[in-house]
Symmetry: D2
């Protein structure tokens, strides 16, 4: 058993996102003649202000998240996303990994120990079932929410805006909020004009 | 701790599904003058054969499923569905319920006991965390896939056809296959013309 | 050639929409024990305020619109809707109908006459092509935006709220705004609690 | 007035589509250790055979189509696509362009002349309305299906497979079939493994 931290890694991002957005967006107005070397950013900013967000859909970003299965049960409900997730039916675990809850330091030692022991029990039950002849898809019944899972999420920039607005909010579950806040910070760095306005709460 | 069986209950269904389908479908061809007292069934059957399935979208059915969270993690990925699910963030469990795996009788007594003990451990850990001051949304970390959950699923008839084709197949996980096979049988009873062709494997 | 006004007709609506919403919504909180004879409206109002709009997806309404093809080209882009529309490939027109633009009285007589003559020309060209042996799907090339079309639109209440917010706004095209404003007024009558807050601009 | 041919142009495509697909797809099975220099193509081919098509959603391609508004009225109904289309509300036409029907050579000279004259009449009516003071969004009422329009369509590879299967079929409208058949040929060239199996009918 290993306890690990949740992380994210951007595995696909466009070279010239706002140039593509300008190119698609100006199709609507037939104003391609207004494209200059530095017009894209101003154009994109205007679209944000006008809430003409459909144009942002032409650019996608893919992120690999390593997080727990409680978080992914929430995530996979987003409709305009694409997901490839580590399968508990086809993957048979030997060395099991669990995601350390983000509120770890706020838990008392007692709470920490209850969680650790619970993970140990779950791993033991899983391995015993496998040893007794159960397939992975049956043994998975005993796996807890904290189980580490990997998921590749591809979404367009309008959907990422929606995800970050929802999942970085104070109302979000702390585990998903931390994951998405860290991810959003990276989006703010490489496409600031489209993610500047998302509020984060560390 | 209680061990219960998974179930489904249809909570919303239309009065005259195939009449509504005929009414909508004939809009495409402007052939409303061909509507008679018994034309709807033949018309619907023709749409199935022609794969003009978009017309089936005008009728929805809502089902309340009581199943486990492993199953719902799969279910909620369907995009054209609407879901309202028992929240592990806002519901605090006292008397915990778990769903008996559908392959129960094929498990050895040893496997059954591993599962039972694992559920007992999970419940104990959850209640200890709550007692130690954790909120429900934090204590949920230790909850296993077998935890009972309730979910109301609303989908149109085209999507239900898609769900049953996918989830009643031999390739589906046995827990979701049993749930959906039982549900599909009921659909076959009240709208046979649209569900006759779905193959079931008990 | 006939000139007609655009209209809408609700052809499917639920009997107890807010009761169904309460039933589904309370699944999330497992608060079904709080259901009383008059709790549904208060519950639904609270969901609107909390923006917990996904629960509204369990109820659908179907509307038959008679409008023009310029309007439907906009409408069919809504993703969470289902459409069955009069086909210009399979319907062969004899007596052609056109939708009177909603700004008719603001047009000068000259503008009105240009439009009328243009419709007459389009009809004549279409009928000449058919007479010369063209199929409907080829002759349709000359049909104008003002051509009357029928479309059955089924959407859930969350999506209808989205449609009305978008299409009844001052920024919407006047033809679609009038159509949707009239339709929304009817929704406000039969499910006031969910449509009270939509602003209309006659 | 100008008569032009419909065309398409791919404006965004990935560098290593099948490598990205392998990377995402192997997340499901945790078989990343099987990645070699030439494993991606075999892996992708296997996904096609197994119909594990969701993995293809991680790669998007954007195409700019120049076609007519009859075609785009069909296209924009695809739900998993993103569209930016030349607006008839915000673009005011001076020199109007129309798309030559793909069956032009099969039409008799008489049919050709009816179409040409009809386009001339439509253009004249539009310009007269503008001259009489109508805005573009009002004058558009007289515009015909054959009007040239530009649309940028972004979709993932699973959706493109779906579009080509539907729109390149013999049942498709000839105008959309030609457009999509030409486009599909290009997809077959740069990602053969995913588009080999699409049947074309020139």
């Amino acid at each position: 058993m290993k306890i690990i931290e949740q992380t994210h890694q951007i595995i696909q991002k466009p070279n010239n996102p706002i140039q593509l957005i300008e190119q698609a967006g100006r199709t609507c107005y037939k104003s391609e003649d207004k494209i200059t070397d530095d017009s894209a950013e101003i154009f994109a900013k205007k679209l944000v202000k006008l809430k003409h967000e459909s144009v942002f859909e032409h650019v996608v970003v893919s992120v690999r998240f390593i997080t727990n299965r409680g978080v992914t049960h929430e995530l996979v409900r987003h409709r305009m996303c694409s997901f490839s997730q580590e399968s508990t039916r086809y993957v048979k675990y030997n060395d099991m990994e669990f995601i350390r809850p983000v509120w770890w330091d706020k838990w008392t030692e007692k709470e920490q120990n209850i969680w650790i022991e619970s993970m140990q029990n779950a791993e033991k039950a899983y391995l015993s079932l496998i040893k007794a002849g159960s397939t992975a898809e049956k043994a998975r019944e005993v796996l807890p929410n904290s189980l580490k899972t990997e998921i590749v999420v591809t979404a367009n920039l309008r959907e990422w805006r929606h995800i970050f607005n929802l999942r970085c909010s104070k109302k979000a579950h702390p585990q998903v909020r931390q994951l998405m806040t860290n991810c959003c910070k990276e989006f703010k760095t490489f496409i600031p004009v489209l993610f500047d306005d998302i509020e984060l709460h560390d």
